[in-house]
Symmetry: C2
């Protein structure tokens, strides 16, 4: 495994970065048509990135030198990729793709096919469960945090147009007690199903919120056991039929941020849009898994997107990425991608435990368009820093309601804005008024899909999972652990002891923590 910085194509790309193409002159209709790739109903339009044929070819070499596609195959077949050589680490396979490998052409490796069988068994349990509870609940509260919250929530919000009648989804994540209180004000607990999600069964925020909701449930005269469902590891403290109506299982080979298509997301999504809709999400994701695995580099959408991201990050030295869906339904999708990307690739050591001497994962942020245009686009167009953008566009809207006003529909207005921004950022504008000068050359690309239905959403989710994984493969870092969250957790425990001691008359030892408590 060679260090990223020593790959011949990296050297070549460093040379090419000295003269990135000037889009102000170069952007033509031919270029837009040429730098595009299509698969599975998606089109990636990247003529507005600062690349040319030489750069693209060097990037494709980079993919091959860093063995991106081989590592994707190793991942999907269940090799132990979540590992740091020579040091204690999680040492696990990475098999979120098995969660949707429940159609034809199953992966042939033993590990992957076992995982897929286990996933299939949970899906059967879920299908039966959804039938059994039919008519009993109108509302669901999902209690979870991080990957047990952001992904499922982003997907639910994206599919509100597909909810079964009279169903409402709620999420409680924050240990802030106001989060639970605000949700509890809105629901009739007698008709509410509560899904508690924690792989270990020990997550502080989740257990605390579960207790809060159980207490309210009892106060309202309902037996929690008839309302609470556990999504957890087999034999975890939460895998307890005395306390839960049902348990659905997740495994340590599916990381939290990659778990939206496991039972972590499946239970609530199945309730919200029905089991058939859920299967469509899985089918879309599975098709993208196969595409990431099988498509050659130059037509592999998530790999291309990963390479363009690496060009912007490591060679044009741009430290952030804005992900902007021109779709209000996707308004929380960037928050999910923020976790997915930053927790996966915000790493400072490589897979051999050596500190890296290059930049890894960028800061990921974003809000939907056109809203962003009326907010932070001022900086995007005229700020002193360059922010690369990843746009997501949909050809059709979800609801049938649309209205022609002045000869165009809202959907056409939305797409006009998307295309115009892509062009404006690339070509800029000269002006005698310095305040109306736009420097241009601001790289961006568009991922265009047909309509945001369950199938497309599943594929979109998997597209980003694989983009992130490919970047980690190319950088040769471990995208599947999260040791960086441990120190804060440890110190939080120490501060919490100080609060506890105030009640139990114990003695605190954490002087830095005490210094803060004096301000309360």
């Amino acid at each position: 495994m060679s260090n990223f910085q020593h790959l011949p194509s990296v050297h070549r790309l460093q040379g090419l970065a000295a003269r990135p193409i000037d889009l102000r002159a170069a952007l033509t209709p031919e270029r837009i048509a040429h730098f595009s790739a299509k698969a599975l109903g998606f089109t990636l339009l990247f003529g507005t990135e600062r690349i040319d044929e030489d750069i693209l070819s060097a990037l494709l070499h980079l993919a091959s030198e860093s063995r991106g596609l081989e590592k994707m195959a190793a991942m999907q077949s269940g090799k132990v990729l979540n590992r740091i050589e020579g040091f204690p680490s999680e040492n696990r396979a990475v098999l979120h793709t098995a969660m949707r490998d429940v159609f034809s052409n199953r992966q042939s490796s033993l590990e992957a096919s076992h995982a897929a069988s286990a996933a299939e068994a949970e899906l059967h349990k879920l299908e039966q469960f959804l039938t059994d509870i039919e008519g009993r609940f109108t509302d669901v509260i999902q209690i979870g945090i991080g990957g047990s919250d952001l992904g499922p929530k982003a997907l639910c919000l994206a599919l509100e147009a597909f909810y079964l009648p009279n169903r409402r989804m709620h999420f409680i994540s924050n240990v802030d007690p106001d989060d639970a209180a605000a949700v509890l004000e809105k629901v009739d607990l007698g008709k509410t199903l509560v899904i508690v999600v924690s792989k270990s069964g020990t997550t502080l925020e989740t257990l605390t919120n579960e207790e809060l909701v159980r207490t309210q449930m009892k106060k309202a005269g309902h037996e929690p056991k008839n309302h609470f469902v556990a999504v957890t590891g087999k034999d975890s403290p939460m895998d307890d039929p005395k306390r839960y109506l049902a348990s659905f299982y997740i495994w340590d080979f599916v990381g939290g941020r990659y778990s939206a298509t496991s039972m972590v997301g499946a239970v609530i999504l199945g309730f919200a849009i029905g089991f058939r809709g859920l299967k469509e999400i899985l089918r879309g994701a599975h098709e993208m898994d196969l595409h990431a695995l099988e498509a050659q580099a130059h037509s592999n959408l998530p790999l291309l997107s990963a390479l363009l991201g690496i060009w912007n990050r490591n060679f044009l030295k741009l430290p952030t990425v804005a992900i902007i869906p021109y779709s209000q339904a996707l308004h929380r999708f960037p928050a999910h991608l923020q976790q997915l990307d930053m927790e996966s690739n915000g790493k400072r050591i490589d897979k051999l435990g050596k500190p890296v001497d290059f930049s890894t994962g960028p800061v990921i942020w974003g809000e939907p368009g056109t809203n962003g245009q009326h907010s932070f686009y001022q900086l995007i167009h005229q700020g002193t820093d360059v922010v690369p953008l990843e746009f997501i566009g949909l050809k059709k809207n979800q609801y049938t309601q649309d209205l022609e006003i002045q000869h165009t529909t809202s959907q056409e207005k939305l797409l006009s804005n998307l295309f115009a921004q892509s062009i404006a950022l690339a070509i800029g504008q000269e002006s005698e008024n310095p305040n109306q000068t736009f420097p241009g050359n601001r790289p961006n690309r568009i991922l265009l899909a047909d309509r945001l239905d369950p199938h497309t959403l599943g594929a979109l989710l998997a597209f980003y999972e694989h983009k992130v994984a490919f970047q980690g493969f190319i950088w040769n870092i471990n995208s599947f652990d999260q040791e960086g969250v441990q120190l804060g957790k440890k110190l939080a425990g120490e501060v919490l002891e100080l609060f506890k001691n105030k009640r139990t008359k114990g003695r605190g030892e954490f002087k830095l923590g005490e210094a803060y408590l004096r301000f309360l």
Copy 2:
């Protein structure tokens, strides 16, 4: 007006930046207590920034050399600050502070006191209006985008705990037709008040959404005139008593992103929490206005925060800022601050129209804690880039519901996490396992307040407005225009023509736009 780069303190700070303090050794309880400032019930804790007495003193010099406090006084007294010398520009006063200068000790300048009187007149109208409609409506839909959406929405969501009984607030902003459709599915239009907000009365997204909702209102058998309220400039196309139940006025001396305390936010907030609650928001903001105006630099909270931001941005060269409220109620507050800051200070020319040779506004992003800890904190702790953090903490929660679990309340768990993160980021951790090594020295500060009630929220809003304004004053840029949004708007119009032409058989001329349309 001297260029930022030529100020003596900037030169001095560049020297000091060569040896920023090493927090891993320096952070002590005494340091935490020492680098703190209190005012109006807020405490700013900045011992975890990479500063020492010399640096703080040079920063305070910078404030004085760049005449930060004089410019704040000029702004609040109504001088024409929204202007570029020697070029066509908006040439306007900047008087959002007048919107809440409706208590004692009014600003004495003619411009500011006229603006305050006008604001007071609108508040009287609103008070009467809220009495007149009492009992008629349960739901409000606010239609607006950018500043007419983000600020009011962030404030409403922050105050759900204070809503009058049986009131629900909704927002439609995006031209995406699914945005309106999703809201319309949730309300009983017969009991819905619709607030349409556009200063010019010509915002494309807003007028389109207004038409969509009017059409639905008529279909449902209700007369729109009895349900629609306009918030707009006097004599704008929307200032029309034939079409609206009432008009409330806004003026061009209040910029969109600074308009949350004008009628843009006041109408919906007054409906949601009552007129008295609204006045408390204004009172909190007004008190912070006076503090920003009158407090000396070393104890002026927004100015201190501005200076620490400039230290991180211009001297430690950090390109982003994460704003993390440890409060779920503030979950959309970072989105408002993102607009406020990036639209104000994402500028490439100074007030003389000269391109700047230093970095202006950073990328602003954020999500609430503790949620972020389970998401992007991996990168914050162990990524290759350093991200400065601005934490917001509250001593008490909003709802009275809280539960002691294992001897501590949820609020105590929340605060323990906040303090622990601040410390962990500063001191890091050494380890023989490179994956458990935390480099530390990651700058952050905490703004701590008592309880998120209307008064505190008003002050918090104004704190950030003034922090952003102070940074603009120090950089000598115009924080009050937004020319950078124009080019995209213009090109969107050209793409829209292409769609229109498909229906009207006209001919398109925008070849780059056509290249995109071929992919539809």
